[in-house]
């Protein structure tokens, strides 16, 4: 039972996510019937399953929200911004009730319901009744449910009763599908029904009766009195799409306009037209089929599997070392086979752990919505490259830093509407989140079109904190880096959102903990851009194994551009300048032997491994290139965590340990060296 509750909670959480997304979409497209239906269905499911699993407080609270939202669904009230926001707040409360069912949330819940009630009242009258009452019509409703309908909890009697509530109904049962007794399955449903219904309600009211079973059933609704029904059908099928179609549609049009007005006056009246009823049913069916193909796996099992694959990869590289050293051809064949298989297994494993960043970006829509309300600024969030995939653990650890950066952008970056108007910018501030893959890294940027970072203030603050000498010459880039110092905040006033001075340093540390890097660019008056470069995965990388002195090191293969020999001549010639010319461009290089102070004489044939991050290149001089190595990354202990040269360590086939070079750091070091050389010249 506990397990069932856990599953319910997981599903309910997802359901709440969907409700949230639906509500946020609804803010943009308040008259999208599909969205309204989706949210309503979500609430209804939550209420039902909550009650089933003993989450009575949740079920009770959700029931009230559902009732309120039902009026939106019926078209009695419009989905105004206030109403949707109230439901969003209520959604958060549901989440609380879900996570902590025993807690005392009664007062908070009542307050939220009162808010919701108020919002509904205010929205009331914003929409006229959707269906112009035009006297009673007679409909012929034929429906059949699938054979397993009972097992899925459907109750045809309840459906019939609901139809009877709509008006005068005459029900005829269709027994043509009932098999002979010998072949009859007692739990299957073999019946169909034809209901002749005379009602004042329109077609959509009849469809609503079947809203929860629509995906699986066959349903036909036709007007018996065709002449009377025809003109009426048009506005009901697409009430917003064809507002000018017929004179009696006038009330509908009038209703649609006030509903939109509070959201955005600029938005044209015709937004997404309501889709025909058949389409959501089809989409729902496709979604159900897709869901059946996926299996839910607890994350820790996936991690466990990852560990095993890691160990396997180590054992495999040991095997191939033994096989390569011997003369046994059969052993070598098997070893190569295993190498291929474990490589594939590793790649498959990697894919399993990859999730699109859309799962991350999705959460920020709500954040921006809340920030906009809190700060009173109009903020528009746009996202790009959401299909970029990153390792699941990386995604989880990115959430907090990104929340912080977005808060910063909204609070410090974007100006108030008046200031924006004064600066000649559009009133709505824009925050742009984008992601793209670049080599073995994913680059995530957060850009705002706000006022940019005030250099003078950063400088004043840095000077007052003693980080730089007063009046010291410092490059713009270095000055901006100051904001990553602990306790650094330029916000004049501490607000609820940010400005407490804890943050940017934490963001930086988190990103560095992920072996990533953070960079900031800003133009006064035009906005700021923070880019995060994050490695695709934390667990296994392809590496190039090299030897320097007696030590072996791994260079991530993603970063390696090429390998070449450093001839003795060139070595001697480059003593003074440490540059090699590579196809007419000068590449600075670092002698790892000197840097690591190995105390060994150089090999006769030293090699240069040219590595790069983005546009910057640097050569690393090594004694020997050993070859490819599948590298299972092990983190270094805290005793060595302060060494920026190494991003981790790995265990080699012979049981020895090799250190993994941090290419980003080495490149930075090379650039620094280059700059010094230039200054010296």
């Amino acid at each position: 039972m506990n397990e069932a509750i856990a599953i319910f909670q997981v599903e309910a959480r997802e359901n709440l996510e969907l409700i949230e997304q639906g509500l946020l979409d609804l803010l943009d497209r308040p008259e999208d019937r599909d969205l309204v239906d989706a949210v309503f269905r979500g609430l209804h499911t939550l209420k039902g399953s909550g009650a089933m699993f003993g989450f009575d407080a949740l079920a009770g609270f959700t029931h009230h929200c559902e009732t309120a939202f039902d009026r939106v669904r019926k078209g009695e009230v419009a989905a105004t911004t206030d109403l949707v926001s109230a439901v969003l707040a209520a959604r958060d409360h549901m989440r609380q009730l879900l996570e902590d069912p025993s807690g005392d949330h009664g007062a908070a819940g009542d307050a939220l319901l009162a808010d919701l009630e108020r919002a509904v009242r205010e929205a009331d009258g914003a929409a006229a009744p959707e269906t112009p009452k035009a006297g009673a019509t007679t409909w012929r409703v034929k429906f059949e449910l699938p054979a397993d309908a009972f097992r899925n909890g459907a109750n045809p009697l309840a459906l019939l009763n609901e139809l009877r509530d709509l008006g005068e109904a005459h029900v005829v049962v269709d027994t043509s599908r009932v098999p002979p007794l010998s072949r009859m399955e007692p739990t299957d449903l073999h019946l169909g029904w034809t209901v002749t219904l005379t009602t004042e309600h329109g077609r959509s009211a009849i469809e609503d009766v079947f809203i929860f079973v629509m995906d699986e059933m066959t349903l036909s609704i036709e007007a018996v009195d065709a002449e009377a029904a025809a003109p009426q059908e048009a506005p009901q099928a697409a009430p917003q799409a064809a507002p000018q179609a017929a004179p009696q549609d006038a009330p509908v049009q009038a209703a649609a306009e006030p509903a939109q007005a509070p959201v955005s006056a600029a938005k044209p009246a015709a937004v997404a037209p309501a889709a025909p009823a058949a389409e959501p049913a089809e989409a729902g069916g496709a979604k159900a089929a897709k869901a059946a193909e996926s299996v839910r796996v607890p994350a820790d099992r996936l991690d466990e599997l990852m560990d095993r694959v890691g160990e396997l990869v180590i054992a495999q590289s040991r095997l191939s070392q033994i096989a390569a050293g011997g003369t046994d051809v059969a052993l070598r064949a098997v070893s190569e086979e295993i190498e291929r298989l474990s490589g594939e297994l590793r790649d498959t494993m990697m894919v399993l752990r990859m999730v699109p960043v859309s799962t991350l970006f999705g959460r920020f829509r709500r954040l921006v919505h809340d920030l906009a309300r809190e700060t009173g600024k109009a903020i528009e969030l746009s996202t790009d490259g959401e299909s970029t995939e990153i390792d699941k653990t990386v995604i989880e650890r990115l959430a907090d830093p990104l929340v912080h950066l977005i808060r910063n952008a909204a609070d410090h970056g974007l100006e108030t509407a008046e200031d924006r108007a004064a600066a000649g910018k559009p009133a709505t501030g824009r925050i742009r989140l984008s992601a793209h893959q670049s080599g073995g890294e994913v680059v995530i940027t957060i850009r705002d079109d706000g006022r940019g970072i005030d250099r003078d203030r950063v400088r004043a603050k840095a000077e007052s904190q003693g980080l730089i000498e007063p009046g010291a010459a410092i490059s713009d880039h270095d000055l901006l880096q100051m904001i990553f110092h602990p306790g650094f905040s330029t916000a004049a006033a501490v607000t609820n959102l940010s400005g407490r001075g804890v943050g940017m340093d934490v963001v930086k540390r988190t990103i560095e903990g992920l072996r990533g890097s953070i960079d900031i660019a800003s133009r006064p008056g035009e906005g700021s851009e923070v880019s995060l470069r994050i490695p695709l995965t934390l667990a296994i990388i392809d590496g190039l194994l090299v030897r320097v002195g007696h030590g072996r090191y791994v260079i991530p293969l993603d970063a390696v551009e090429e390998c070449l020999e450093l001839s003795l001549d060139e070595d001697l010639r480059s003593r003074g300048r440490s540059f090699i010319s590579l196809r007419n461009s000068l590449v600075p290089f670092l002698r790892l032997r000197e840097m690591f102070d190995t105390g060994t004489p150089p090999e006769l044939h030293q090699k240069v491994v040219v590595v790069s991050t983005g546009a910057e290149r640097i050569g690393l001089v090594v004694d020997q290139i050993i070859g490819d190595h599948q590298t299972v990354i092990k983190s270094m202990s805290k005793l060595h965590s302060g060494l920026p040269t190494f991003s981790g360590a790995t265990i080699l086939g012979d049981g020895g340990v090799a250190l993994i070079l941090d290419v980003g750091h080495l490149v930075a070091k090379g650039q620094q060296q280059e700059a010094q050389m230039r200054e010296a010249v």
Binding site: L639, G656, V657
Partner: protein
């Protein structure tokens, strides 16, 4: 009696179970519960720039752990490894994170019990070792066993590392 903030291994019974080992002719003792394993010397990988105290890493059952040399902290001469040399793997707390660390030893003796009554605080004069690195000295059979204050020792090295690292970075 040792008055350091470090949690001592003395139980209510006034006794402590320890593992004794030799380092440069001196006898040391480690609280036995902290010891994970005693292993033969393993291939070491020097970590350039890490300093002498924890200048290398080793492979301990598929984990990469630092190998540290108490002789550096106690300013002892560093002799060549012998046939008796062993690595004692212990678990210590670094910044609240349990961390496995290998300690070089010249020879491992035995697991034994020390009595609290025999323990003395390190003398403040007449000793070339830094007193804060010593939890206490225990008298036994006419000689002294040094119980090092590992927690203090490692945290200090760790902090020193951090500060030099950040100093070089800026």
């Amino acid at each position: 009696m040792s008055e350091t903030a470090e949690t001592t291994g003395w139980t209510g019974a006034e006794q402590m179970e320890v593992l004794t080992f030799e380092l440069n002719g001196e006898l040391f003792a480690l609280e036995a519960v902290a010891v994970q394993e005693i292993m033969d010397l393993a291939p070491e990988t020097v970590v350039p720039g890490a300093g002498a105290f924890a200048g290398a890493v080793i492979n301990f059952r598929g984990k990469v752990i630092p190998l540290s040399d108490l002789r550096v902290a106690f300013a002892m001469e560093r002799g060549e490894p012998t046939i008796d040399s062993r690595i004692v793997v212990i678990e210590i707390d670094l910044d609240g994170e349990p961390t496995l660390v290998g300690l070089r030893t010249d020879k491992v003796h035995e697991v034994t019990t020390l009595a609290r009554a025999d323990a003395e605080a390190p003398p403040s004069v007449g000793m070339r070792w830094r007193p804060e690195f010593i939890q206490c000295l225990v008298k036994r059979d006419g000689e002294f066993i040094v119980v090092p204050a590992l927690q203090t020792l490692f945290n200090q090295q760790h902090d020193a590392r951090q500060s030099t690292a950040s100093a070089t970075r800026h």
